[in-house]
């Protein structure tokens, strides 16, 4: 189910994150790329080079917005001034859907700039879903929420992460940005089966998939986005597209960023798994 209501019925292929070290290469060489994901906050400015670059990118490429500061899970109300700027940017980019994280990160108007894990309770799910609906109604585009990697679990939680994710997206009637690297990192940190997570996710709501690299420390894994995708994550990716269908896929590489070509080549490795999923589907269908 590549095209669905949660990604604006689009059928995007394999994209990469648009990052500053690659601007000059992209603008000069105009490489073939299915689509770029931009970090919304980078371009929520009033002018200058960020918007000049964005406008030139938009002339040539499809762009999808991904944010880091909507904090759907924070108890406080959405920041209206921020939403107005975000809406202006969505009009500029014509993003078919917009994603942000299923997390909290602001308290009483103070921002952590981090993606803090939710307490998995029904009340938290209700509040989060209410905010997602409010944001979607204001922005007038489909919303997909991304599962975050986490390093802590709370005593107050009443359900698993995947049950919480399901509760939120069903209540909000929104999409999922399924980050398979985050599922893997959290599964190692909390000791759950990542396949069980994937099998529980409502597959028809998956609008997009994220893949990325992480770093292994002695006692935990950290979601660093500074490596190629590791084998266990590719295996989870294969499992995800078998369940969800071939879905718009995005490689995140945010630190120690290598050349554009290296990043793009890493992303295109997803094609091998997509071919495998298609072949398996064909066998099942025959």
């Amino acid at each position: 189910m590549p095209a669905n209501p949660y990604n604006g019925y689009t059928d995007y292929g394999i994209g990469i994150g648009l990052r500053v070290p690659h601007y000059d290469h992209i603008l000069a060489e105009q490489p073939t790329v299915d689509w770029f994901e931009i970090i919304s906050e980078t371009f929520m400015v009033d002018g200058g080079r960020p918007l000049e670059v964005l406008d030139r990118i938009l002339e040539q490429y499809r762009v999808v917005q991904h944010g880091v500061s909507l904090y759907f899970g924070s108890a406080e109300a959405p920041n209206r001034a921020h939403l107005r700027k975000l809406k202006a940017l969505t009009r500029r980019t014509q993003t078919p859907w917009l994603s942000d994280h299923l997390c909290w990160g602001s308290v009483d108007g103070t921002y952590s700039h981090d993606l803090l894990p939710m307490p998995y309770t029904r009340a938290a799910a209700r509040r989060t879903a209410e905010k997602i609906r409010a944001v979607r109604d204001f922005l007038e585009i489909p919303i997909a929420v991304e599962n975050v990697s986490s390093y802590a679990e709370y005593h107050v939680s009443e359900m698993t992460e995947w049950e919480f994710l399901t509760e939120v997206v069903e209540r909000a009637d929104c999409g999922i940005l399924l980050d398979v690297n985050n599922i893997y990192v959290s599964s190692r940190n909390h000791g759950f089966d990542p396949h069980a997570y994937l099998d529980h996710v409502p597959a028809h709501r998956v609008a997009q998939i994220h893949i990325a690299g992480h770093t292994r420390f002695e006692k935990y894994l950290l979601d660093t986005h500074d490596h190629p995708v590791l084998d266990p994550v590719w295996k989870l990716y294969a499992h995800a597209i078998r369940r969800c269908g071939v879905t718009a896929t995005l490689l995140e590489w945010d630190d120690k960023i290598p050349s554009f070509q290296e990043v793009h080549d890493e992303a295109l490795k997803a094609n091998a798994f997509i071919a495998g999923a298609r072949a398996a589907a064909a066998v099942r269908g025959s």
């Binding site: 080079r49 981090d114 309770t121 679990e153």
Partner: protein, 310 residues
């Protein structure tokens, strides 16, 4: 000894939005508490209780990490992220204070003024104000640091501030100077400084570039000693415009009269009154003043600094 803050309230359950808010305040209080000098979580929470005890009431331990160790990951990530961001935005302040003092200043600033914006771009916006309010972090260079914090923030504003359609020369021809009002581009920043920090920042940038070159192929004669520092500037009042051209930031020194004219235009005065602001009070224009003002306007028009008032 400072009195401990009110006891951190940790709800036993999160069954309502109010309890969610209370829960998030409790976690945020721990995550945003400054790290120890060894980059660890402090032993005591803000209310004086052992952090281990408070963390243990909120977070489950794993088979490899205690509750405190798990929360410490977030505590460290928070501080590393915000300090990294300020570090990158403030090369001048770092050069004046040195890395350790700069980090102490940045931490104290973020405790007093934590981020109130969804984007990290705005993080240094109140740093100059904090330096003025709490001079002990920058003494004896407070005035210089205040200038630098203003200047470094002005660069952020100039980089991605709004640009409006330029005022065209044709718009001036039939206009009555007594009534005509111009406006300055929103991205244009005008600063009156006590220290020539524009030159100082350029020197720091050049030194940084040379040090980078030193790691590769810079000619030996151009390599600065690793320990050599750019000398701190001496007090010398000046006025600087920070502006943008083709996406790049430039600094332009302004004569005092030019600065007064531009500030009068920004304040919305009609052109004739703005020009009068450039004259010393109660004096006749010095010889050649008209030519100088004309030359300034020609340059400012070429740089696209003027736009129509909204």
């Amino acid at each position: 000894m400072p009195r401990p803050a009110a006891k951190i309230r940790i709800p036993a359950r999160v069954g309502s939005t109010a309890e969610l808010a209370e829960f998030q305040r409790a976690v945020w209080g721990l995550v945003s508490r400054p790290l120890t000098p060894g980059h660890r979580m402090q032993r005591r929470a803000a209310d004086g209780r052992p952090t281990r005890e408070v963390a243990g009431r909120i977070v489950k331990p794993s088979d490899r990490l205690t509750a405190l160790e798990r929360l410490e990951i977030y505590n460290r990530m928070y501080w590393f992220r915000v300090l990294d961001s300020l570090h990158e935005d403030c090369p001048g302040l770092r050069a004046v204070l040195g890395e350790r003092r700069f980090l102490r200043l940045a931490e104290a600033y973020l405790v007093r003024y934590p981020s109130r914006s969804p984007t990290l771009r705005d993080l240094p916006s109140r740093l100059a104000r904090f330096i003025r309010e709490a001079p002990r972090w920058t003494r004896p260079h407070t005035a210089l640091c205040h200038d630098l914090a203003r200047f470094e923030w002005a660069q952020v504003e100039a980089y991605d501030g709004a640009a409006r359609p330029r005022f065209a020369a044709a718009d001036l021809r039939a206009a009555d100077p007594g009534r005509l009002r111009l406006a300055l581009q929103p991205y244009l920043q005008l600063l009156e400084l006590r220290y020539p920090v524009d030159d100082y920042l350029i020197a720091i940038k050049q030194r940084t570039a040379l040090l980078r070159g030193d790691a590769s192929h810079a000619p030996a004669g151009l390599r600065p000693g690793r320990r050599s520092r750019v000398p701190r500037p001496r007090r010398q009042a000046c006025q600087v415009a920070i502006h943008r051209l083709d996406g790049r930031i430039y600094f332009k020194r302004l004569e005092p009269a030019a600065g007064r004219i531009l500030r009068a235009i920004r304040a919305g005065r009609p052109l004739a009154r703005a020009l009068a602001a450039g004259l010393p009070p109660g004096r006749r224009p010095p010889p050649g003043a008209a030519d100088r003002v004309q030359a300034w306007f020609r340059t400012w028009m070429q740089l696209g600094w003027f736009c129509r008032p909204e």
